[in-house]
Symmetry: C2
Subunit: 468 residues, 2 copies
């Protein structure tokens, strides 16, 4: 964590009110189960990549109420005995989650928290905050990298990101989704992600003319030098970069960068000029409001760009800046310690929740993922799945494996966290196991998800009971 | 600042490369001027509210390279002498800025940094990161509060915000834009913003039935109690809340909250039920994907909602999740210490920058703001303005006042920061001085902005010279 104060108050007020209520009503230590899932396919695509778990783990490991937190809460009217209760917070929950980089679909729990209701309740706001955003950005990155493939994508978004951590955690998530590197130096330091950079227009403008600025830049960066050529005129800029490269000895013009104008036409023209002058090895990099759709179209138009710098659209999600994740109660113990299924009704069908203590089981045929079935550990694992969107379709599941893995047991970390590079490699493998039809940008095929038959029946039974 | 490590690396790699280049080329201490401005009206509206300055001030006051920052930079290949130079960083720039809450329009500098080019250059990425986002969200909040007026708006967005600081700084900016309170406890603690909260569906689901849950909640919150009534059925929920309120003594049902379904129809129906049972004083609060357009439409449809909880759309900007702010060099001293105007050309007209050392002068007729003219302190203040979008329109400016105020002089803070409540009040006053036509959501009138005549001519001259 990079914060110098406790983040225990990174929560919504009502969590504290409810915890106070559970405590006051004498039910704070009854066990409950909550699941975090999203409901809409991000970017109208066919999948998401789970991300943010490591950040959530660090948050949980550091969770405690500081003296100043408790002092602040006392100003909100909470009674001293309750603050004393909070001050003794010791995390005792079981947490299961999808490893970062795992392909995930709507309604599937990405994280499951089981333990005393007061603790599990408290985690709602921070878990949503930490997982929603990184999952969104890892997914966006995967889409952008898919469009750019096989070219590398560099994440460039700090300046337009949503605050300091909007930049830092986006850098992390973008790397998980497949970015090769970042411009974000603090992200590079914190997560060991390779950092890259060229120069800004201001470098060129700081000198009396573009040629002098390129020459000065070439001298300080004799290797791997990439020159930004559009400060005044991209074509003239390319010619000046070449003149500088020819003038200097032991200098390699690794690349030129375009940042405005028609990137397709300009890159084709610049490529011709570079090739004609013997600079076949010089790459053309482009930036400027890029996303997966524009990269795809530029490639279709024959753009000669082979390195993509993507900022705003990548780090904010742009067309969809928030994943609609929710964190819902699905089971609670009664006074005797027996588990009770719980379900929330809604006039909006998509907002009806799933009851139980859920696990996701995924069928894999050795090449591709075939189906996911949610099972309820209270009802037991079965091999019959009911299609989530068409209950008339009932199928047999073969050799499915659990997707959620243990992270905390009784509040103790039992998970060996992979490195960020391992997570990126795992995400790549996950993407390779998704059918191409699911990865289509426009109107992708819906990946098969369902509920295990007894769970489906339990859900129906609860709905009917509650509607009475 | 709430970060426990230096934020000096909150920057893009190319800033460090350029600073290394300025240092290596012996020009690091030449003075330069940079301005931060955006180019597109956010949300297709007619104005923005400047925000984020206080966060930027704190960032600047804390700026220094820690030993671990320098160690990391050495792994990126920077030479020891340069790291030694960085380690001696002492901020010496002059900074002028628009106070937070100020109405601001495209192309106008929100912040101006003047000083040694290496320092002024370094601030590009962090200033953009800190000001772009808060300005965006303060503006979104102003629009949402305008739609809700005279009802209060509560910011509810943590769970869908872009990371930890995406939530915290959005809370701050939303308050500047006019929100009455927040659900974000850490934001409340850090910024002294009132915090509010009701309860979640999980509270209701934790009990055997909704009635018991409401009764338990009422007991812990006898005053100011707001019950969430849509867990199973909103109308039945309203009736149960009333039954609980009637059963208990010394209890006030302050409000009920709707979170799904047709908020217009449900609120009308719930209002009738409440009124018929003698609960005329009980307010109806609503949440669920609200923004300025939906609030306006719900009001037009006669919704009986008088408290609005707004989350995702407010804290992410949703339809526009990033302000397109840029930070551009506009003047630089030559070896003799003479100021040279600088301008960046572009094939995209909107990307051509303004040269000089700029101030914004605003004409006020005692009721409304009339016009803004950008003047160049190098060329001198004049009273003739050329319309930014139609140079054929030339007007005389009367009694205009400077909008940018001194913040740092020679690196020393000279600005007495207002409290967040004062900033909110100032923003409210600013909004009252904008013509209604500029505040229209759809197709607003373009507020008059222009360049002082000599500045306009200087810009033209530079464009023509560079195009040759």
């Amino acid at each position: 964590m990079i914060y110098n104060q406790s983040l225990s108050l990174l929560t919504d007020m009502y969590q504290l009110t409810m915890v106070y209520g559970y405590w006051k009503s004498g039910v704070a230590n009854r066990h409950a189960v909550f699941h975090l899932n999203f409901r809409r396919w991000p970017f109208k695509g066919g999948y998401a990549l789970a991300a943010g778990l490591q950040t959530a783990i660090e948050f949980l490991q550091n969770f405690s109420y500081s003296a100043s937190d408790l002092e602040y809460l006392s100003t909100l009217g909470f009674e001293p005995k309750f603050l004393d209760f909070l001050s003794k917070f010791e995390f005792v929950c079981d947490v299961d989650a999808m490893p970062e980089g795992t392909a995930v679909f709507p309604y599937e729990p990405m994280i499951r928290v089981k333990g005393p209701i007061w603790q599990a309740q408290l985690l709602e706001s921070p878990m949503l905050n930490l997982l929603n955003f990184q999952t969104l950005i890892a997914t966006k990155a995967a889409r952008i990298c898919q469009a750019a493939h096989p070219d590398p994508v560099i994440e460039f978004g700090m300046r337009r990101a949503q605050g300091i951590d909007g930049a830092i955690s986006a850098t992390r998530a973008a790397f998980i989704g497949g970015c090769e590197s970042t411009s974000d130096v603090i992200g590079g330091k914190l997560f060991k992600i390779p950092v890259r950079g060229t120069h800004a227009h201001s470098w060129v403008m700081a000198f009396d003319d573009e040629f002098s600025s390129f020459e000065a830049f070439a001298k300080i960066m004799p290797k791997g030098c990439v020159m930004l050529i559009d400060t005044y005129n991209s074509i003239e800029g390319a010619k000046r970069a070449i003149r500088v490269a020819k003038k200097l000895k032991d200098f390699e013009l690794a690349g030129v960068r375009l940042d405005s104008g028609d990137l397709a036409a300009l890159s084709i023209e610049v490529r011709k000029i570079l090739d004609a002058e013997g600079f076949q090895g010089t790459k053309i990099m482009a930036s400027n409001e890029l996303d997966e759709y524009l990269i795809r179209d530029l490639k279709a138009q024959g753009a000669k760009i082979t390195v993509w710098g993507v900022g705003t659209h990548l780090v904010t999600g742009q067309e969809q800046p928030a994943l609609d994740g929710v964190y819902k109660l699905s089971a609670v113990q009664n006074a005797k310690g027996e588990w009770q299924h719980r379900l929330k009704l809604s006039e909006q069908t998509a907002k009806v929740t799933n009851p139980g203590i859920l696990q996701v089981r995924r069928e894999f045929d050795g090449k591709k993922y075939c189906r996911d079935v949610m099972v309820d550990e209270l009802l037991g694992v079965g091999d019959t799945g009911v299609n989530y969107f068409d209950p008339s379709e009932v199928v047999q599941i073969k050799d499915a494996k659990d997707v959620l893995v243990p992270i905390f047991r009784g509040g103790k970390l039992v998970y060996e966290a992979p490195t960020l590079f391992e997570i990126q490699a795992y995400a790549k493998q996950e993407l390779s196991r998704l059918p191409a039809s699911v990865k289509r940008f426009v109107n992708p095929q819906t990946y098969w998800i369902g509920l295990e038959k007894r769970l489906y029946e339990k859900k129906l039974e609860l709905i009917q009971k509650l509607k009475k």
